[in-house]
């Protein structure tokens, strides 16, 4: 698990892609538990208007290094069988999916713990930015807590 995997996808993540990713694991019969996180763009109502879509950009090379580091640390911490991480670049409309983390392990505790940990670390540590575009065309830079 030390090759660098591509994490960025142009535009939203298709729910059918999630289904296909799950299907690919049916030959891995040591897996007992899959835990999946999907980030969906919310039509938040701001002072200035409602979010219509988010335009994502990233410091791509640094982001991929950082995700690789987070991935390796998770494999060192929990007995995981598989891990897949994808994030959108470019425009993702409200209701569409921009972030997909998929963790598999023989038993569920490891999958639950690793999933939450990975999602939290990616949000805090990976250089990705979302520009929220409001229904009137104005824009607001999103900030993670």
């Amino acid at each position: 698990m030390s090759e660098m995997k591509k994490i960025f996808k142009q535009g939203p993540i298709d729910p059918a892609f999630v289904g296909e990713s799950i299907a690919k694991h049916q030959s891995k019969t040591a897996i007992g538990a899959h835990a999946i996180f999907l980030g969906q763009v919310r039509a938040d109502v701001k002072e200035q208007g409602q979010v219509a879509w988010i335009d994502y950009t990233a410091y791509e090379e640094m982001a991929e290094k950082k995700v690789h580091e987070i991935r390796e640390a998770a494999f060192d911490t929990w007995p995981l069988t598989c891990m897949h991480i994808y994030h959108s670049l470019g425009a993702v409309k409200a209701g569409e999916i921009s972030f997909f983390v998929f963790v598999s392990s023989p038993h569920r505790d490891a999958a639950f713990e690793a999933l939450r940990h990975i999602v939290d670390r990616i949000k805090a540590e990976v250089p990705i930015w979302g520009r929220e575009v409001l229904d009137d065309g104005r824009e607001v830079w999103k900030e993670n807590q």
Binding site: G39, Y56, A58, Y59, P127, I128, W129, W141, E143, N144
Partner: protein, 80 residues
């Protein structure tokens, strides 16, 4: 000479002030000095909270800048 310059790129809300493309400037020795130079050249940057990455490594505190380095101006992340 190429090795006496550094490249600056900006992300997130910093692109509003700084523009989208990278700029080249004379090498400075450390990140504190660079912050002063940037604030002078782009006064509106004062209103943007940001950290710097030096050659894709997050720089906390004052860090040396090697000649030819790529420096990123990074406002708070908002991925996910």
């Amino acid at each position: 000479m190429e090795t006496t310059t550094i490249t600056i790129i900006a992300f997130g809300m910093a692109t509003r002030i700084f523009g989208d493309s990278s700029i080249s400037m004379s090498h400075v020795n450390d990140t504190d000095t660079l912050r002063n130079v940037l604030n002078e050249r782009f006064p509106a940057l004062v209103e943007v909270p940001f950290v710097l990455a030096v050659n894709q490594e997050l720089s906390l505190g004052n860090q040396p800048i090697p000649p030819g380095a790529e420096i990123a101006i990074m406002p708070p992340y908002s991925g996910g």
